[in-house]
Symmetry: none
């Protein structure tokens, strides 16, 4: 018993680590396939293949296809939400927070481009939890801008959508012209556009 528990203390973590490793590999594969093939045409078998496991293994780790997608979105969301919270945490000048926020989004996009294009797809229909949570943070940001008189109050209810629109504009441009702009330049452009517009 004692031996057993000792044994468990040592062995479990290993197994768990392996187990988690497999799950992570599946999520990575899923992210790729969902992004490549689209939310619908991504086939479980291809995800398994790209993860180097069998279909059965996918189902050993995730309830079903939907749960896999949900977990994927959730894990990426958590990561992004965490970073966005950090960006919002410091008591910086509003514009700095804005830039920091955009930067975070673009960085996350850089490493999870695939994931974000998934999010953008689902964004239109019924908003996902992920999108909602990001929007909540944008709301916070925008309210700060308003209270600091850094944003136009006549646009108040539109501001979250506008900021999202500004970010998306740059993301879209980037999707179609990969590598044209460095990440910081993207953030800069988005903020400049959001605050000052494109009029001469």
């Amino acid at each position: 018993m004692n031996t057993d528990s000792k044994h468990e203390v040592r062995v479990r973590p290993l197994r768990e680590r392996l187990r988690e490793e497999t799950a992570r590999a599946i999520l990575v594969a899923a992210e790729e396939v969902f992004a490549d093939k689209g939310l619908h045409d991504a086939r479980v078998e291809e995800i398994a293949a790209r993860a180097g496991v069998s279909v059965g293994t996918v189902y050993n780790h995730f309830e079903d296809r939907e749960a896999l997608l949900a977990d994927l979105v959730e894990s990426r969301r958590k990561e992004l939400a965490l970073r966005l919270d950090q960006a919002l945490a410091d008591h910086q000048p509003f514009e700095t927070q804005l830039r920091s926020f955009a930067l975070t989004v673009f960085e996350h996009f850089e490493s999870h481009r695939a994931f974000l294009s998934i999010l953008l797809q689902s964004d239109v229909g019924q908003p996902t939890d992920a999108m909602r949570e990001i929007r909540a943070r944008i709301d916070v940001l925008v309210r700060r801008g308003l209270s600091r008189k850094a944003l136009r109050s006549d646009f108040a209810p539109l501001l979250p959508s506008m900021f999202t629109g500004a970010l998306k504009a740059i993301l879209m441009h980037d999707l179609r012209n990969p590598g044209e702009l460095e990440v910081p330049e993207r953030a800069e452009a988005a903020i400049d556009f959001f605050l000052n517009g494109a009029g001469a």
Copy 2:
């Protein structure tokens, strides 16, 4: 003889008109179902049912499901493209053209709201012909703005995405807050944001 030719003039168009009527009904039903259920989950059988015809009839009018969707998109695209061209036709001041363009987009969106929100999904993955053609008109518009020094030249390559982003921002806001803004107000907001930004 005379009767015959008269006959043809009358009878042919009748059947043709009925035929076209059926096709139109199917397209309308398809628009509804595609919008309700999504690009993927729309079932041909439901489209037929909602059009009040049998499945077979759908296939008498459209090669297959994909062709039906393509035709649907195409018909909406043609309609929008025509109106956008009209908006671009007059030699109005740039800002008027801009407003007119936005107005057209929002009006079109108003009458095909559900379906267009579906199309926006596919915009992310591979852009449709429809989206491409609209973008071409945006390019024209933007070039005019640049040549009239009405738009910031430092944003030149980004301007089409930015204008699209501004329109989408308002569309998104409208999707989530239906009826909050009248169509002309939407156009006004989009243009104001696009040209001047949201900074105070």
Copy 3:
């Protein structure tokens, strides 16, 4: 009434002739399409189109697809049976009858190549009435050959199949090498092979 019947005497035949003409046109078209596309892949709509009528008209003249095929086979069969009976009618020497029979088959094949390839298709599965009737005539011919000691009695039960086989051999060769042999040469070859074999 009298007028009517007079009228009918004149008008009916015209109508009937037209009616028959249409039916004939459909049968000709059917023969072509059945032969081109095969017994199964021949589509009623294509038959109608090739006959220059609408689908509905086909169904005004024939109960259904199966009846159309049956009528087609029947009409060609009647024609062939008639001619074969003529070939068997004269009290000619056996070999002359044989040659005449073969000649008739090849001539019929020449004008209804399509039809016969239909027959050959159905021959294997369940023999059609048409094939059965032709075989009946071959049986007659063979019995004559046996009673005149012109055919080997040790082959007696096999002779009908052998004669058919000899005819088919030449038909097959002709299908693959169209125009290589004139019709009389074909008959000659078939008879020579049937009677004398291919051994040196």
Copy 4:
């Protein structure tokens, strides 16, 4: 380590053997159903049922219905071609080779009677690869007969069709009178007829 490699040697083949067994069962079922119902009326669902598997399983093993048929034909063809090649391999007198060839055909027909009678149908329209390959072997056989002066040179181009016709004649007879002739008798009759004809 050793265990591992041993393991692989044992386990892999097991699954593979089961997999092949399933494929074979489907092919056997397909042969039956295609023969029973005809090339067209054979339903994939019935094939699956008769193989004791689900439809999906059929599609796990064969691309589609057409591929299943092709595989079936191919497997029967390979078998026959192999045996025909053996029959042609020995440097026997021509007539022995001929008899051996015919024997092989009839034996093969005996074990795949139903299916082959289906194949004969398609022989008329567009010849299958299978038929072509068999014909190629008949060509070889016939050329040998010619060079050994065992076959009539005036029939040269017709000989392959004639030999085929002689075989088919007996096959047809056999289809209509099952069990009347033993396999060797069939071969004997076919050869006798082919070489000497049916004339007294």
